[in-house]
Symmetry: C2
Subunit: 268 residues, 2 copies
């Protein structure tokens, strides 16, 4: 039997490919990885179009109890749906390896990911350096990775894409310590919060990597018709409302090609 790993793209139920839909329709079980990203439609809308019941796969199911998915795939066709593209998270690679090791037939059906969809801002995709994430800080954990990645990319004159944190169905650190599973409300980091995080680190380190004058591009709901892109200084973008999630933040390199500059002008 086959385990279909299928990207759903970035927006809604109609972003699945024809090939993906065929695989979903012939599957006996359909799992949706539901904790690393977010669609702009409901699970019910997916179920209606797919004519299938969807099993939500949270972190625990995918990371600790993946055998539930794999054991099904030994007996019957199973679809594992991923928002964006299939290999967007290490845990999906892990699932692929486990399936290979169990001798399960695998088929990957790709789709758009934020890594290519941000091409719409007009920056050349091949001039992006390492991608980074900005996470919600905790009282005792304030990572500066994104500042360091930006610094490295700037040194090489490359664009930086910063993905912004998502907290879905996660308990508080206190509850995790106590072993309680009381999920907190969903949280999605905004462009504004991402910018503030970089400014906070700048204030501490003062290396001139990201200041109120740094030119950046705030993006929301890329891949949907309702996307929003605004280019401007960090100070200007701090005052903008980007609306519903997901957001991401781009810091372009200093030297832009003419066509890059021309396109970015459109988002000011």
């Amino acid at each position: 039997m086959t385990l279909y790993m299928i990207g759903l793209g970035l927006n809604d139920q109609k972003d699945i490919t024809l090939k993906g839909l065929e695989a979903v329709k012939k599957s006996k079980k359909v799992f949706l990885e539901s904790y690393t990203s977010r669609l702009n439609c409901s699970v019910q809308e997916l179920e209606k179009l797919y004519e299938q019941k969807i099993i939500l796969a949270d972190r625990e199911l995918v990371e600790s109890k993946a055998d539930k998915i794999l054991d099904s795939a030994l007996k019957e066709d199973v679809s594992f749906l991923v928002i964006g593209d299939v290999f967007s998270a290490t845990t999906h690679t892990d699932l692929y390896i486990r399936a290979l090791e169990k001798g399960i037939k695998l088929e990957v059906i790709n789709n758009a990911s934020i890594l290519n969809a941000i091409g719409i801002v007009g920056l050349e995709l091949y001039k992006f350096g390492k991608t980074t994430s900005i996470v919600f800080p905790l009282d005792n954990w304030k990572p500066e990775t994104h500042y360091n990645v930006l610094k490295e990319n700037q040194a090489m004159d490359l664009h930086t894409l910063a993905l912004l944190d998502i907290k879905v169905k996660e308990p508080s650190p206190e509850d995790i310590k106590k072993g309680n599973n009381n999920p907190l409300p969903e949280r999605y980091m905004t462009v504004n919060e991402g910018i503030r995080s970089l400014l906070d680190i700048e204030e501490k380190r003062r290396e001139g990597i990201f200041t109120l004058d740094t030119f950046c591009i705030g993006c929301a709901r890329i891949g949907s018709k309702d996307f929003k892109i605004i280019a401007g200084t960090a100070k200007e973008l701090l005052e903008k409302d980007f609306g519903e999630p997901l957001h991401c933040l781009i810091i372009p390199s200093k030297n832009l090609h003419d066509i890059e500059r021309e396109m970015i002008e459109k988002w000011k």
Copy 2:
């Protein structure tokens, strides 16, 4: 009226999304950008599924005569199809800008690109540095950009994706000089040729960036069921036959995560 810019994904007619197909079906004209990439199906297969006549858009039409496409889109719904994702080439960004300037309504419908589909090799996508291309050298033009990019990425401990050259419907440099338009046969660079190009530069520069012992991953037909991935030293891969195009070459960073190493083992 609307100009739909639609990614077709990487393999065949069934990789279009439901949203993409809806837009194609309601368009009065359908253009396919036909010179920067390649599908593993014929134009006739696209036409049959789409129930539309497809106009092949070569470099001249897209770059010099884009007004033909734009003027249509002022009067009627037009689809502009791109293999992979929409903003894979500067020229597509240019078309988007010209359409905006003419007041044409635009809708972008994303799809998979090689930039995310290579996630299947098991390397983390966010650890890739700048993407590079390896081009067919000419007698008087032997660029070393890909060697330089690899060197920079190595210095930052990042993976490198090298896309391999495609020559479709291009006349020879001599014919271009003479103004003749006699297209040469199609050529697609192989993994073997890409490796040889890097070795040739290494032989000249001797900086130890890419030798016969360099570990790399050769890929062919990523995004199709018939993909081929082989990991090994440059020397080992030189002897492998990767079959039909498109090929690409990945040079992983020296330091791999456990899960990256575990997955790459599967391709040896």
